[in-house]
Structure formats: structure tokens, C-alpha cells
Symmetry: C2
């Protein structure tokens, strides 16, 4: 049983926990769109299998899959992964899935954001996104967790929290007129406060250069613990990313979190600029109703787009000269977690990375 | 996690429990086929809502639903029903779903029969049945229960057990060449023994007259407790059902169960013969790939097709002069359970009844 609750999480004593708090498990969706994932999705499927398999060493993984891919996904995934039918238009469950909230008493519920495929009719990634809109309700039905329906167009990748009342977001995404044209900034802030129990929002102007989500914060920076933030960085002042990271750095350093703390910021140098190759682009279906991904387009690569599992960090690697530094920085920043590197270019080709294709479900009970 | 187990339930110490043993809950599927259910499935949907709602007073109910009916089913069902996406070709989960088995230690697993839509290419109800074939695996994945794949074409409605090693079945169905043409009777018996832990099979020749399943036993007779069987009956010797019930009665009375007991048999008089009306038949789509259901066809109505829930009997009623007698007989036979009558004609029009659209999941744990 999953009740639709008409109040708000804050009013009921629920908050969004930080990603490093204990998980019941992790949700993913199976990639198959031929216009997002090259060669019929097969290379991406192998990458997703690797992500799921690695996460399953640390916590339960549930893979949601469209009906026509159930047998294939079940066959490709190891048996410890739970495979459930969960129709979707694409595999970005961070964005089209539920965001979970918890109470002091250990009850878990879900927030069902309004989803418009990263920009609605003004700038969607694909059309339609009707199945995506039902993903949160279906996740919560399976788990028998109650659901809040939030009257705010956003995606899970557009928000990062410290679990203590502070939220990171980008203006380019959350305040974009392609999301909530009828809401003022104050109204958007009020919804974030009400649905995640947030008392301080740190607004950053923009996300990662060429990030097609209008700049999701989860590709730019994230909390590592309360008071400590990691930020994607480049030392190359000629790279358009430089001024984006620099302005974010300055803002983060001058900000205070919900507890009044100044933030520490750790820079993680980005991979060198990567472009979609001719061969990669040639593997994509070309359709009128989905974003075109041409050869030569810069990919929004970032080491920030990792997933925090129970006892581990599942981190993207790109075969880049900066891979090793990023890996070792994460190891220092999370001394009590195993760092697991994943060859993630195939995920990045679809427009996101490991954090975008995962959604943690906090530990707790249904009622 | 749901492992596919290569051995058999019997070898691993698992048996199929009787339906009256404690349940974790009940599974159902949502009706929508326009060639099975009249008027786009709407009258049947209301009947299924009533069945699910009544069962949910006694145990958890999970309703599996095709993606295109998720919102409608969710809206029509009360919130305590768990609604999950579970693609299917039709709503007979007794037949296309998993059969559950339990161990002495309280572990629950599933048996995934081979399903051929009640007769395969020789006499199927509809084509294709590809989604039906995946229903058991998907149920078990959701519950993280391990799965046995049985090399036997059968359906849950073709078997009834007393939980103590005795199985009731009809030869017209289980031994029909449209099910397992390459298996001998002894091989079929061995599979039933291996997958349900059966040591005595009581074979009845035929099921209910005009039952389109080739005579599922669950419309003809069922165990009420070990040693006690209920049998559909008619006093009208001119009814073709008479000789079917009479021969079953004689066979049951002369049979011994797995413990060597003689069986007691309680006759429950059937409803008067019911026919598909012109109006009802006119509400069905006519398609080449599904059984035609013409006006005037006799419906295989029987009071035996009830569901045993925790603390209740969910029993079909037909607006017939025998309704009241059947209801009171069940009340006497199950003195510790509430008898809940359901107006079931809309279910019967599809070719089955309450037992056919339900599947109990025994209480127990995954590992």
C-alpha cells in the first residue's frame, strides 16, 4: 500500500537525508533508447550492468526495466540484482524517479516531483515522457511507501543536500523558465523547503559546460559531509568550464550552510575535454522527437557524478590522465569507503553519469 | 534477488501448502482485454475491484497491471491495494502466475510452470501469450523469492492440494495432448510430485461442462481441509453436468488421500444454467487470435471457484436461486471464516471465477 499524502514532508516531520546516510538499496533503470544509447543500447547496457553489479556488493540493487527488455536485462544482470518491470522513457532514475525522505522515527516516504523531460515543450530531451512520470509512483507501490506529489518541476539531479537543511542547486536549471515558468524564485524555494525540509539554499549560477540538463548541480558539485563540498574544476583558463567552476567556487566559499557553517571546498580536476566521435554518433537513431547528438559535441564529463553506496563510492573513470588523481582524492575524502572506479564513457555519451542513473532509497520502514 | 534454482522443490524440502494455510497476501492481475472482457473491460474491472477490496480486508493484495492501465487501475482501486506494473496477456493469475511452495523452516519459493494459454497452438484462448510467460518470474523478482522452472505445461487452476501430499486434477486437462503431448502420465505425475511434493494424485476424468480450460479442477472440486472435499453438483439428471459430477463423486468417495484417509465429499449445488446474453456478447471485440464467445453459450458457473483468504472465503454469487444455499454451506464448512459473497457474473463471462483471478502467497520469508 502506497498512500498519496496531501500534506508536505516538512509538515509531517520528514527530511531528505544525505546520500551518505544508510541505504536500504539503490534503484536503477535499464537503458534501451536507440536515440540516446548507441548501437541499440548494448554498450550502455554493459556499463549499467557493471554499475549495478558493483553497487550490489554493498547494498540491494533494483533494476526497473521496460516489458520488452525484461528477459534481456534479467539475463545480463547477475542474480543478486532484483529486476522489476518498470516502464520508462529513459534510464535516468535520479531524475524521473522518486526522491526519498525520512522521519526521525525511521519511516521512509517518497517525493514524486513533476517531471517534464528536462525542459518540457521548450527544450525536452525526448517526447513523450509519459512513462517517466509514473516511475516514482511505481517505485513506491513496489515498496509500499507513501508518496507526496510535489507541484514543482524538477529532477533529482538538480538538487544535492547535506541532510541538515542545506541544498545546493543551480539557477540555470531550477529557475529556468522551461521548468516552472509560473513560479517565482521564492515559491520554488518554498517548495524545496516544504518537500525536502530545507532551510538554506545555496544558489550557483550555472552547471557544467555543455551539460544538456541546463546544468544539474550533481555534475558540478556535491556535499561530501556537512560543511564540505567537492567541485569539478579545471586549471585551463581557456576552457569555458573555468569561469563556471571559478564562480561556483567563490560562491561556495562565501556561503553559509543551514547551520551557519562556512563551507570547505575541494576541487576535483575534470577530465580533459571529450567529444562524441563520428563512430559513436553514427550508432544513434536519428528521430525528430529526441535531442540530436552529433559527432564533435563536447561531453559534460565530470568526476563529481559519483554514487555514494553503503561503504563505497561508485565513481566514473574516463581513461583520462586525470582519472588517477580523482580516484585518489575520493579515497582521501572518504577514508572509510571503498572507491570503485567504473569505465563510464558509455554512460556519459547518453548525457549523464553514475549519479544520474542511480537513486538511493534510505534505510527505514514503511509505516 | 530471485535465484533460478535448478533442483526441484521436493528435493529441497519444499511443498505446496493448502490454500487455507496462512497467507502473506494475494496476487491479482487487472483485466483489460477487449476480446475477453466486455465493454472494454470496464464491468470486469469493477468486479475485480470488489474482489480485491474484499480480500484486502483480510490480507495484503497486490494488483499487477499492464503499463497502459496503471493509472486507471490505481485510480479505481482503494489505496490499501498495492498496484505494480506486471505486463500480462490476460488476468488469470491462478493460471499464468507462480505457484508458491514452502519449507519446514518457513522459506517461500515459487514454481514457474510452463504456460501455453490453455492449450497452445492446438487450442489456445488467445495469441500470443508471451507476457503471461514472464508473470511468475516478475512476481518472484518483486518479492525476492527464489524460483523453480518446471518443465510441465500446466496452470494453477488445474491443481488443488491438501498440503499433505494429495493432489486433485482432471485428466481432461492435465493429460490433454494440447498440454504435454510428449510426456506420459507417469512423467506428468512425477513432475507434480517433484514440484509440489505430492505422493497421491486423485485423477478425475473431466471438469465442469463447457469449461473452456479443458476442465480445470478448481471449478469442479476443492479441498476444504485434509480429508474433506467440496464438489459442484446438480440434481438435474438432464443437465450434462450431472454425469460429470456423479462420476467425480464416485471417484472421490472411493479414493484415498496421501495419508490413507477416505475422503468425505460435500456437494454444493450449482447455479442454474446461465448463458452469455446477446448484449454481453455484443460488448466483446471479435478478433481472429482469440476464442470467440458467442451469445447463447453456456457459462461454466460453479460455487466451488472461491478464494480462501486469511480468515475469510471470497465466494462467487450469481443472482441465482442457489446462491443462498451455497453461501450457507460455505459458512458451515468454514465456521471460523467470514463468508464474503461477490456478484461474479462479470468474471464468469471471461471464462473463470474468483479462484482463477487470485493466487495466494504463503506466509514466510525469502531465505
Amino acid at each position: 500500500m502506497s498512500n498519496l499524502i496531501r500534506s508536505t514532508p516538512r509538515a509531517d516531520g520528514f527530511r531528505m537525508p544525505a546520500e551518505w546516510e544508510p541505504h536500504a538499496g539503490c534503484w536503477m533503470l535499464w537503458p534501451q533508447r536507440r536515440d540516446t544509447w548507441r548501437n541499440g543500447g548494448k554498450p550502455a547496457q554493459y556499463a549499467f550492468v557493471e554499475v549495478a553489479t558493483q553497487i550490489s556488493r554493498f547494498e540491494r540493487v533494483t533494476m526497473g526495466v521496460n516489458p520488452d527488455q525484461f528477459e534481456n536485462a534479467r539475463a545480463m544482470l547477475p542474480p543478486q540484482i532484483r529486476v522489476v518491470e518498470l516502464s520508462n522513457n529513459d534510464a535516468w532514475i535520479r531524475d524521473n524517479g522518486a526522491t526519498f525522505v525520512v522521519s526521525e522515527e525511521g519511516v521512509v516516504r517518497g517525493v514524486d516531483w513533476t517531471f517534464n523531460a528536462w525542459g518540457g515543450l521548450r527544450k525536452m530531451m525526448y517526447f513523450p515522457w509519459d512513462l517517466d512520470e509514473l516511475v516514482p509512483a511505481k517505485m513506491l507501490e513496489i515498496e509500499s511507501l507513501d508518496r507526496y506529489k510535489a507541484p514543482l518541476v524538477t529532477e533529482g539531479g538538480a538538487i544535492h543536500v547535506d541532510g541538515q537543511g542545506t541544498l545546493l542547486a543551480t539557477e540555470s536549471c531550477l529557475l529556468n523558465p522551461n521548468r516552472n515558468p509560473d513560479l517565482s524564485k521564492a515559491e520554488i524555494e518554498q517548495h524545496l523547503a516544504d518537500y525536502l525540509d530545507i532551510s538554506r539554499i545555496i544558489w550557483l549560477p550555472r552547471g557544467v559546460y555543455e551539460d544538456e540538463t541546463d546544468g544539474h548541480v550533481d555534475n558540478l558539485c556535491c556535499f561530501l559531509r556537512p560543511g564540505l563540498v567537492a567541485l569539478t574544476w579545471t586549471d585551463d583558463r581557456s576552457d569555458p568550464q573555468y569561469e563556471r567552476s571559478a564562480e561556483a567556487y567563490d560562491l561556495l566559499r562565501s556561503a553559509r550552510d543551514a547551520s551557519g557553517r562556512q563551507l570547505e571546498v575541494r576541487k576535483i580536476h575534470q577530465p580533459d575535454p571529450m567529444m562524441m566521435t563520428e563512430e559513436e554518433a553514427a550508432g544513434l537513431d536519428i528521430v525528430d522527437t529526441a535531442l540530436l547528438r552529433p559527432a564533435g559535441e563536447r561531453l559534460a564529463g565530470s568526476y563529481i557524478n559519483f554514487y555514494i553506496a553503503n561503504g563505497a563510492i561508485i565513481a566514473p573513470q574516463f581513461g583520462d590522465r586525470h582519472d588517477s588523481a580523482a580516484f585518489h582524492q575520493l579515497a582521501q575524502l572518504f577514508p572509510n569507503r571503498e572507491i570503485v572506479g567504473i569505465a563510464a564513457r558509455e554512460i556519459l555519451l547518453g548525457g549523464g553519469n553514475i549519479h544520474c542513473i542511480t537513486q538511493q532509497q534510505p534505510a527505514g520502514r514503511a509505516t
